[in-house]
């Protein structure tokens, strides 16, 4: 980067067409030979690989700028086309211009007043920033109506466009059978298509005719004999005198050269009425006379393994163009017949057309020898992998890594475990100064292979040196203030971590590095929900930040703890998950007692380093602590809360003590766990991070203390319950049968707006749904409170009671498209059933439970339902992906301003106050009307229960929450960074 040049910054981009002269001027060479390389493998002069067009082979020198490949961007060349050709991209514009301008004087076919009107409209639309297309199209439509030019009076003809590049003028020309027609008219006979008696014509002799038209009698004779074609004036005179139409419609093909001549005469003023910038884009420039040849660097050829060169698609296309161009010129010089010239012209047009765009409808695409359509200019720009979306909007970066992720509960949620080999590859730049000189030298001395080492150094003179195993000791001594050292990632560095699909901003968060052995990225399980990650083989990306501003921003704004609250619903998205929740449930539900050793063991991984007063003593006189008081140790001391918990029972926290209630999903869970949410909003993100980390570790200890496992037996119910379940299902079968019978007797009353068929289906579905529910209820009664599956379902850790029902009682009705299964064979679902059997089991009711196992028909129906789910997911991801892309594209420029308005980047106000009240969606939960309890504040002010002025002050002004810079701040500062694994516990 330090080439001494000022960084180039683009201020604005101006678009326009290029003058052919400009093409010639910027061209490095004219290209006349269709060949690329000679037999020795050297580029041919004035060929398509001319070294003046830039170089791609390493070692060669560009003949235009003298630079080598890599630094030379390449230079354009040009081809002088033998005849003008049309630029396909502008086919519609050409048609419009031909229709809207005079064929004779090329003026716009509008009167001055009309033109002024359209110019005014154009200015207005432009100032409103709206689409100009509507106005210009209206102008053309108006101009097209004129049958004669308002300026020169010339008659105008209709223009027909044969896609893509042929234009015809529909003209009235003298009919081929003019002599017959005149003769017929003179005799008073009907002419051409006229029917007898339709036209009333007096017979007229040649002399009378000559007199009336003013044409010589001899000339009239000549005309009648077909020896002389009447001139335009004569024809009109004859037509008038004889009241006869001597013309017929003819398509006169407009050659590109004609069009070019036509356009050249259009005055600038008229062009601007059509919304075209005459300064930048003259219309004749859309008819190409010179074709720019892209630099070699834009169409590099590749050398295959066998030494053969394979040329780029663009080069192939250019070869075609040059060949035809050459042939065209030769033929023309040799004076070839017009027909052959026109054919060649068309061929040239085809090649130039496909060079620009190879997906024009109506034109067969140019193909590679293998039959694959060529990827020409338009195809390079278009679409997801095109230049715009693929290369310009999406960029590849250095300093990034990707590998499989795995869980590590010992890490803080802010951290990420980085494999040592990744850490040694990705570097951070240290600006060496007196204070970090020792560190810098140590890193360099370690070399590139040993972990906290360095890969490169840069001397103050700008020279970059690679640190190797051999020179590291030597280099380390030379390192002095003013040097730059690219050192390995070490513990405490900030990196960006991401999992695709990046659907929301929590998909990219900043983590602190903890260097670890082995090959996977490690993360705390509580950050799985925001990333939507699991460990079944997911991979994630890491990016090392390369400047101080980026690192500061990442640390302050992007760190995981700053993202605990989701802007979507304003509650915490990070919290306890799965086993954490089961663990907390086991710890607090029955409020079990623990002796000192057990209590300390539970809390050993947290920052709590002492037990509170025991809750009491047991029969043996031993002190005990309850689960709730152990949990309470994690809570902020002055926390007061009361709300309805997961189990529908109240949860009460008084002064940081859990007095009543069970801690489960709605308390500390991932999406809106009340306690986590409150702590984050009241005590700040740092306190919340500590709380979540400690809840997770405590829960893990707790679940290890109690133990949890699930087996098939846990889902089985006794035979009595099984009988009752069977009875419930049999009852349902009976009721279904009754329904079918009423239906078949034609007595079923249909619901309003439904047919009887639909009514029957709905009623059967209802009955069977209820049957499954009651079967589930029976099974539910039999499953113990401490059944591990029940614990998980109740606490909200995983699974639901429905899943339990399906496992132990009855799987229930399988549905496709929200209906019972109705497809398969004619009038039946499977050949196992009779035709038109409406019964439950013939339409996908699965009576068995998963534990019992499904019979073959049931299994098949179940697979049908399952398949629908899979298809649904596949369709959904693509649809919602596109929806999200459109939403982001439409809204991405909106930003809130200091004055509270929401504006886009061109300063258009979209909202005067965001969300009508200017509150942040992270701070205010989606269902909260007013998060500020004015009454409570007033009460506290009135009671004035402040111990001192500072407390009062902090109450009034609100706590300024400290930004915690790093979890490892202290250890890191003292230089105690060691490759050893450290955790914050």
């Amino acid at each position: 980067m330090s080439t001494g040049e000022a960084p180039k910054q683009i201020g604005s981009l101006s678009f326009g067409l290029m003058d052919p002269e400009e093409y010639r001027e910027m061209s490095a060479t004219k290209v006349i030979t269709a060949d690329t390389y000679d037999d020795d493998g050297f580029p041919i002069d004035m060929g398509l690989m001319d070294p003046r067009l830039g170089v791609i082979d390493p070692g060669l020198e560009c003949k235009t700028c003298g630079q080598h490949s890599g630094s030379c961007n390449g230079h354009f060349g040009h081809i002088e086309l033998a005849a003008p050709v049309i630029h396909v991209g502008f086919q519609k514009l050409i048609r419009r211009l031909l229709r809207g301008t005079c064929r004779e004087c090329s003026r716009l076919l509008l009167t001055e007043d009309e033109a002024d009107e359209f110019r005014d409209r154009l200015d207005k639309t432009r100032s409103l920033g709206e689409d100009l297309g509507d106005v210009t199209k209206a102008a053309i439509r108006r101009a097209r109506k004129a049958s004669n030019c308002p300026h020169c009076g010339e008659k105008q003809y209709d223009i027909q466009h044969e896609k893509p590049t042929t234009y015809y003028e529909v003209q009235d020309v003298l009919s081929a059978e003019y002599s017959e027609r005149i003769a017929a008219a003179m005799e008073g006979r009907p002419v051409g298509d006229e029917e007898e008696g339709e036209v009333d014509r007096e017979p007229m002799g040649p002399t009378d005719l000559a007199e009336e038209t003013g044409i010589d009698t001899s000339r009239i004779q000549d005309i009648l004999s077909g020896e002389f074609r009447p001139t335009k004036e004569d024809r009109e005179a004859l037509e008038k005198a004889l009241d006869v139409d001597l013309t017929e419609e003819d398509m006169n093909k407009l050659m590109p050269s004609d069009i070019r001549d036509w356009f050249e005469d259009i005055p600038d003023y008229d062009i601007e009425t059509l919304g075209i910038d005459a300064e930048k884009s003259r219309p004749e420039w859309i008819i190409l006379t010179v074709l720019p040849v892209p630099p070699v660097t834009a169409r590099p050829s590749i050398t295959l393994d066998n030494g053969q060169r394979s040329e780029d698609d663009l080069t192939h296309k250019l070869v075609d163009i040059i060949r035809i161009n050459q042939r065209f010129m030769e033929n023309r010089e040799a004076g070839a017949p017009q027909l052959i010239i026109e054919d060649l012209w068309e061929l040239l047009q085809y090649h130039v057309t496909t060079f620009m765009d190879n997906e024009i409808s109506g034109t067969p695409p140019a193909r590679h020898r293998s039959g694959r359509p060529l990827k020409t200019l338009s195809q390079r720009l278009k679409g997801k992998e095109g230049r715009f979306r693929g290369s310009l909007s999406g960029k590849r970066v250095n300093f990034s890594a990707r590998t499989v992720i795995s869980p590590d509960p010992t890490l803080s949620l802010n951290e990420v475990g980085v494999p040592d080999r990744v850490a040694s590859e990705m570097t951070q730049t240290m600006n060496v100064n007196a204070r970090n000189l020792q560190d810098a030298r140590r890193y360099v001395a370690n070399g590139p292979e040993t972990h906290p080492g360095a890969n490169y150094v840069r001397r103050p003179d700008g020279r970059r040196l690679k640190v190797t195993e051999k020179n590291c000791e030597e280099l380390a001594e030379k390192v002095d203030p003013g040097w730059e050292v690219s050192r390995h990632l070490i513990d405490g560095d900030i990196v960006i971590f991401n999992r695709q699909p990046s659907l929301h901003r929590m998909s990219i968060m900043a983590h602190e590095v903890v260097v670890m052995p082995y090959k996977t990225f490690r993360l705390n399980t509580v950050v799985c929900p925001p990333y939507n990650a699991d460990f079944d083989g997911d991979e994630m990306n890491m990016h090392a930040l390369q400047n101080e501003e980026a690192r500061a921003e990442a640390r302050v704004l992007m760190r995981v703890q700053e993202q605990i609250l989701s802007p979507r619903f304003g509650e915490n998205i990070i919290g306890a998950i799965q086993d954490h929740i089961s663990g907390m449930y086991l710890l607090t539900h029955d409020n079990p007692r623990f002796n000192e050793t057990q209590a300390l063991d539970l809390l050993r991984a947290t920052s709590v380093d002492g037990l509170p007063e025991p809750d009491g003593t047991d029969e043996d006189g031993l002190e005990y602590w309850t689960g709730r008081s152990v949990f309470s140790e994690l809570l902020p001391e002055d926390l007061n809360m009361e709300f309805e918990g997961t189990l529908g029972e109240p949860v009460v926290i008084e002064d940081g003590q859990l007095v009543e209630g069970t801690i489960a999903e709605d308390e500390v869970g991932e999406f809106g766990g009340e306690i986590v949410d409150t702590i984050t909003k009241v005590y700040g993100n740092t306190r919340s991070r500590v709380f979540i980390n400690e809840v997770a570790t405590l829960a893990m200890r707790s679940i290890m203390h109690f133990g949890i496992s699930v087996s098939i037996d846990d889902e089985s119910v006794d035979s009595e319950a099984e009988d009752r379940i069977q009875e419930a299902i049999d009852n349902a079968y009976e009721r279904v049968q009754e329904l079918i019978e009423t239906y078949e007797a034609g007595e079923l009353e249909s619901l309003p707006g439904r047919t009887t068929d639909e009514t029957l289906e709905m009623k059967i579905m209802q009955t069977l749904g209820r049957a499954r529910d009651s079967a589930g209820d029976i099974a539910d009664e039999r499953l113990d409170e401490d059944n591990p599956a029940v614990v998980m379902a109740r606490s909200g850790a995983r699974a639901s009671m429905l899943n339990l029902t399906q496992m132990s009682a009855c799987v229930g009705q399988q549905a496709v498209r929200g209906e019972r299964i109705n497809r398969g064979y004619e009038d039946r679902t499977l050949s196992h059933y009779k035709k038109d059997d409406l019964s439950a089991d013939a339409h996908g009711f699965v009576e068995s439970s998963y534990r019992q196992g499904l019979n073959p028909q049931e299994f098949f129906f179940h697979a049908m339902g399952g398949r629908e789910g899979l298809v649904d997911t596949a369709v959904r991801t693509s649809k919602s992906g596109y929806l999200q892309r459109r939403l982001i594209n439409a809204l991405s420029e909106l930003e809130s301003q200091y004055d509270g308005t929401v504006r886009d980047t061109s300063d258009t106000v979209v909202q005067f106050e965001f969300g009508e009240d200017g509150t942040s969606t992270t701070q205010v939960a989606h269902d909260e009307e007013n998060p500020i309890d004015v009454d409570d504040i007033a009460a506290r002010v009135m009671n004035a229960e402040f111990t001192d002025e500072t407390e009062r002050e902090s109450f009034l002004k609100g706590d300024t929450l400290q930004t915690n810079l790093s979890e490892h701040q202290d250890t890191w500062r003292t230089g105690a960074s060691s490759p050893e694994v450290e955790s914050d516990d």
């Binding site: 683009i10 604005s12 101006s14 678009f15 991209g89 920033g129 709206e130 297309g133 075209i276 720009l381 278009k382 095109g386 715009f388 979306r389 909007s393 659907l503 929301h504 901003r505 500061a552 802007p567 979507r568 809106g672 619901l751 309003p752 439904r754 929200g818 649809k879 919602s880 929806l883 999200q884 939403l887 982001i888 439409a890 809204l891 991405s892 420029e893 909106l894 930003e895 929401v902 886009d904 979209v910 909202q911 965001f914 969300g915 509150t919 942040s920 969606t921 701070q923 989606h926 269902d927 007013n930 500020i932 004015v934 009454d935 504040i937 007033a938 002010v941 009135m942 009034l956 609100g958």
Partner: protein, 398 residues
């Protein structure tokens, strides 16, 4: 009344009106002094400011993500029953896409017609309104038979239905006159009445084809009600005030026509076609409709936790220029100022070619353009001119 001093104290804070009112209430309730009132106001203000949105927050992207992300969790199942099992309504992701596309007509247009005091509580009265809304076609009124021998179409009207559907008419004859009149004016035929409730007519010249043609056309004639409304369902529902009222749910919508019908409470009646609402009630109502429809769609899918402010922003940008613009290449994205931004979204080549002939200049203000040319974007931290100095400050005061 709150005394003036307290008022000035509170006025000086940056509190919005709603919170000011609450502070006044609290001051009054606790009988606070001016100093105490000052304290209360300050404390409330500090908490209020903490919940304010940060300046330079890229709210657009956040809102887009907040709506797009739950989209992945929605079902593709198109239909659900609007409350009752009677009317199918598009829901889930297809409905959301339909809304942001700003389609001219929704897949399943429906109206929810509320009735005024007079008609809302009486089923009979409510039915009167129904007959004015629901399109009545011939098959609902009686039987149609063709008499090929005499080349006649004969309509046998059901007396009961007629009296039910035209309750304001006194005599049956009048009603039959009305029906016959409608047939005559629509089909251009003469009708005869062999019996009081039978109408007969035939083609001018005997033609079997024309006879059948007449029957076909007869089926399409709307005798009463609104053409576009094929079905109306009456339901008794609890409304916001807690009362129970009869509410009409229609399949098919013609919002403008429905509002003008006697007995319809036009202040509460809604439909799910945002363009119809725009035409009849204006752009602000359309904005409100977009918010409500998107929210209902999300809620129905169990995604009720999306903050409504995100939906507001989407509705606001869709209605920003006074008309409903869709989100996508025919709307907002296609009308951006920047050539590069448009080219990077969709139909790349055409945008570039058009830009060339119009001689457009891209000032590189937006996000996409700056990503393309490699400049920092003007959002969030990129909108602040603040950077770390290359050297340490020379003295303490700079």
């Amino acid at each position: 009344m709150t005394d003036a001093e307290v008022k000035t104290v509170v006025q000086e804070t940056e509190l919005p009106k709603r919170l000011r009112e609450e502070v006044y209430d609290a001051v009054e309730e606790h009988n606070a002094s001016v100093e105490e009132a000052q304290d209360i106001a300050t404390a409330v203000e500090s908490r209020y400011l903490a919940t304010r949105l940060d300046p330079l927050d890229p709210v657009g992207t956040v809102s887009a993500q907040s709506i797009g992300e739950p989209g992945t969790q929605m079902t593709m199942n198109t239909f659900h029953y609007a409350g009752v099992a009677e009317i199918d309504v598009t829901s889930g992701l297809p409905r959301l896409i339909e809304l942001v596309d700003a389609r001219k007509t929704p897949d399943t247009p429906v109206m929810h017609v509320y009735l005024d005091e007079e008609h809302a509580h009486d089923r009979e009265k409510a039915h009167e309104v129904v007959w004015n809304i629901e399109a009545t076609r011939i098959l609902a009124l009686g039987d149609v038979s063709t008499n090929v021998a005499d080349m006649l179409v004969s309509v046998d009207l059901n007396e009961e239905t007629l009296r039910e559907r035209w309750p304001t008419y006194d005599s049956l004859g009048e009603i039959v006159d009305e029906v016959a009149g409608t047939i005559e004016s629509n089909l251009g035929v003469e009708t005869t009445r062999p019996e009081p409730t039978t109408i007969e007519f035939g083609p001018d010249e005997p033609s079997y084809r024309e006879l059948l043609q007449l029957v076909e056309e007869l089926r399409d004639i709307v005798f009463k009600g609104i053409d576009d409304v094929s079905r109306v369902v009456i339901r008794k529902e609890e409304v916001e005030s807690g009362d129970e009222e009869f509410i009409l749910h229609t399949e098919g919508s013609a919002f403008g026509k429905a509002l003008k019908i006697d007995g319809v409470d036009s202040s509460r009646t809604t439909c799910n076609n945002i363009h119809e609402i725009h035409r009849n009630l204006g752009i602000e109502a359309a904005r409100e409709a977009i918010i409500n429809e998107t929210r209902d769609t999300l809620e129905e899918q169990g995604l009720d936790n999306v903050n409504i402010r995100h939906l507001m922003l989407v509705a606001d940008i869709m209605t920003n220029n006074g008309e409903i613009e869709s989100i996508g290449r025919h709307g907002i994205s296609g009308n951006k100022d920047s050539v590069l931004a448009r080219a990077a979204f969709e139909v790349t080549v055409n945008h570039l070619l058009d830009a060339a002939i119009h001689g457009e200049v891209d000032d590189l203000d937006g996000v996409t353009e700056n990503v393309i040319v490699g400049k920092p974007i003007k959002l969030g931290t990129g909108d602040v001119d603040l950077r770390m100095g290359g050297s340490a400050p020379t003295s303490a005061d700079d």
